[in-house]
Symmetry: D2
Subunit: 270 residues, 4 copies
């Protein structure tokens, strides 16, 4: 197989582990390439995220490293995360489980598709979010006013510190801190969660991806839209954000761990 390795670059041990993993995978007969930043830290040659192709990307890091990789790849390649962080919902294997997985790699693996939300503002595509996009104020402690349109129909207006637009995958990330439900990634929906809403009746909403979803900023205050904690965009006043299901889902290696067992175990240990 053609495998690309990515390591978090702020952790010497993760880098050493990645270098040793590269040797092991080559010994197993796979073709191994390093991502550019990782390669640099190991004194080797590599390719930028944007040019990643092949059968598999192995990411040694936490959820942030996995998000970064998926965010930067031009074309989605199946990702396997080896958890080198605190709590890894996206980095599915612990380092001590990796050996067993790679031993059977030549027999192939199952791929799990995870929907992403595509964000556009006034017709311009900003990017795709695997976990969530969040709209927040630029000024501390100043509320924004939002309008939500479903299938073109005004459905809700509220004031809040911000608004999260999460995927089911993101339901165990920021959305969970903000009070949202855990959503099965086999369900396709847009999870809308207001941050500290002023109106007490504001509740998380899960909206079918079959709907057309638009969010408008109804205040003149400056705001930011942040995708997966990776990219930040300035929103103009009265901006209209269009939310659709991305045509390019993220691809994950399915390691056989049942979603709900994994999630509830991790929740209890946050």
């Amino acid at each position: 197989m053609k495998i690309v390795l990515v390591s978090r670059i702020d952790d010497e041990e993760a880098l050493r582990y990645t270098a040793s993993l590269a040797r092991d995978l080559e010994d197993l007969g796979h073709g191994v390439t390093l991502e550019e930043g990782t390669a640099q830290r190991l004194g080797r040659e590599g390719i930028p995220f944007e040019e990643i192709t092949g059968d598999l990307v192995v990411v040694v890091g936490g959820d942030g490293s996995v998000l970064l990789t998926i965010h930067q790849m031009r074309k989605q390649v199946p990702v396997l995360g080896i958890n080198w962080g605190e709590v890894g919902f996206l980095a599915d294997l612990e380092p001590d489980e990796a050996g067993a997985f790679f031993a059977t790699l030549k027999d192939g693996f199952r791929v799990e598709r995870r929907m992403r939300v595509s964000l556009s503002v006034d017709g311009k595509h900003l990017g795709d979010a695997l976990n969530e996009a969040v709209i927040v104020t630029e000024r501390p402690a100043k509320m924004l006013r939002f309008g939500v349109y479903v299938d073109g129909i005004p459905s809700e207006r509220f004031r809040a510190d911000g608004l999260l637009i999460s995927t089911p995958t993101g339901s165990t990330a920021y959305a969970m801190s903000a009070g949202g439900p855990i959503v099965d990634p086999q369900i396709e929906g847009f999870l809308l969660i207001p941050l500290a809403p002023y109106m007490l009746s504001s509740r998380p909403h899960l909206i079918s991806t079959g709907r057309i979803l638009e969010v408008t900023l109804e205040t003149e205050k400056p705001a930011h839209l942040v995708i997966d904690g990776q990219s930040t965009f300035e929103l103009e006043r009265e901006a209209k954000v269009t939310v659709t299901r991305s045509s390019e889902p993220a691809l994950f290696v399915h390691t056989g761990k049942p979603f709900f067992e994994k999630v509830n175990y991790k929740l209890r240990n946050l």
Copy 2:
């Protein structure tokens, strides 16, 4: 069309309105039958819920009357609710909107399917819930212990006052009081919500109907399972409740009101 009329029977005005509606519909050329209880109160002949057939059932009442009708019909017929209660999420038309609807009835109507959950205990089918099934203790203020199995895998265990198993339709009913999200009825999922869970990390879960879901009672305390607030069953100790998507969804006349606009309007006015 062949139309059956059901009225709440504890409200004289609703009954009078129903009688007058029967005349109007007959004048429009439809065949009208009354449900037995409604008929009795109007001094006429009727048919029991179980024998309802035809093109349309019109229910004059609140959500309870709609739930009762759907619960009792042996075979689902499309339901139109005319709201004669407090807040009607299921009774879609206000009385003053009914005339306009019936005027165009002969041209047909769109039917909206709403999934129901089918509840079985130790292999025996108890019934289908349009809104929710709830498992609660028989003894006030005593917690139960639950186990949740997804696809046969133990996924969660917790202690709580009770457990709600709701449909998306039920997400604006009891599930909402219990802290759940609003779920688009276009999404098919089982919404699990613990009532006053002891473990603080317990969160509402939305589980795909493609999964096999089982809930076990892990305490020896007696408990009840209540379906849509209509039927109550005693659960034996260590009972295992199997939750599946019912093969018979409820059928509603689609009156053209957008779901989210309606819901958010009603929420603000609870």
Copy 3:
């Protein structure tokens, strides 16, 4: 000192520990009496809860055993709980910490007063709650309607599964499962928490004990009032429950453990 020992009676190890503790305390020169139920299980003589007097009651058990003891004592005597249960917020010492405590007992101990709420219905005193009183329906899954009067003024009306009236001490018990805040026991207040309230704007309220607080049942459905999970009372229709600060606080031995450190540690490990 004159010490009374109480053990949970459903656990042989707790009973053996209690018997051995009795000998140790007598060896240290203290006068030891056993509570009647405990005594019976150990084949000895004892006194009923109601007749407990002296300097100190040591309870070997969980929070339930401590609540039972305080509930039954006619006159409050300082209580020390040795935790023989799951999570003990009221049973302050772990068994392995008890030796060090008793070694210095002859030098005296500090007593911490914890407010209780006194519950009366239509002028008749029902009892005092150290943790909470809860009003719940007798029929599963049927909402009650409540009115809340503060200083005689109607302040809130809502429908809910039930209503918790908790003390600050109880804020880490049932009230916490029901979504309430953690309240410092140095604060004196009545914590009102609706269970699954229908109106989304219903929030936990903390009301000064300087206020006159009354709760009315506004539905004709039968309801129960349960005090500390120990005593259950039937509430008549339209009952009015008067809540006051009990003139007899519970007395606890202050073992020097800081409240918030203890609470947050236990919360993380529920």
Copy 4:
């Protein structure tokens, strides 16, 4: 009486009302002074907030105007707010109620003291908050890590978007949006509420003002501390914020409206 008038200056009607109120109060024999900004807009002479003295300050505006006035006054003078905003929890009278109040003003009025929290960072006093101080990140969607010390003892550590330190008065403001309880202003306590906490067991805490409360920033990310939405301070890395009960409470004219009746009415109409 010596009365100072303050108006919101962005609303012509409020200014006209204030000018007319000035005449009315002078006709009733009171000495009236205008605040400088208000005076300027009316083409008259005034005094700066800092120099306000006298018997009474009347503020025509919303809660923001009342907060600004209390924030800027060097020495607290009793405040009466006439609500010229959306929902006024601090601006107690509606304009049509003002006449009746002023008619009996010469007989005096009752003053209600509302505690404020005093915020210091590394020994330097930053200001007093009537509603709340909030610590938030400067960078959108990046969590902060906090430590909470009660009486010098480490009591909690958590990651969150921010942390609110609210008074009971502030419990109906930002703290409510963030999920806190309603707290009787007759209770004196510090209400700590994390914003979108990562650890699910994080709950609002109400801590007695008799305690010493310190909050530390445990991340190296830049953060802001905002007092009552009025003043913003940059927090240095590893800053320690000390929270005490201010020795100068805010003073309000007690208009006789019962707190809980008022609050619940307004909550239902947010």
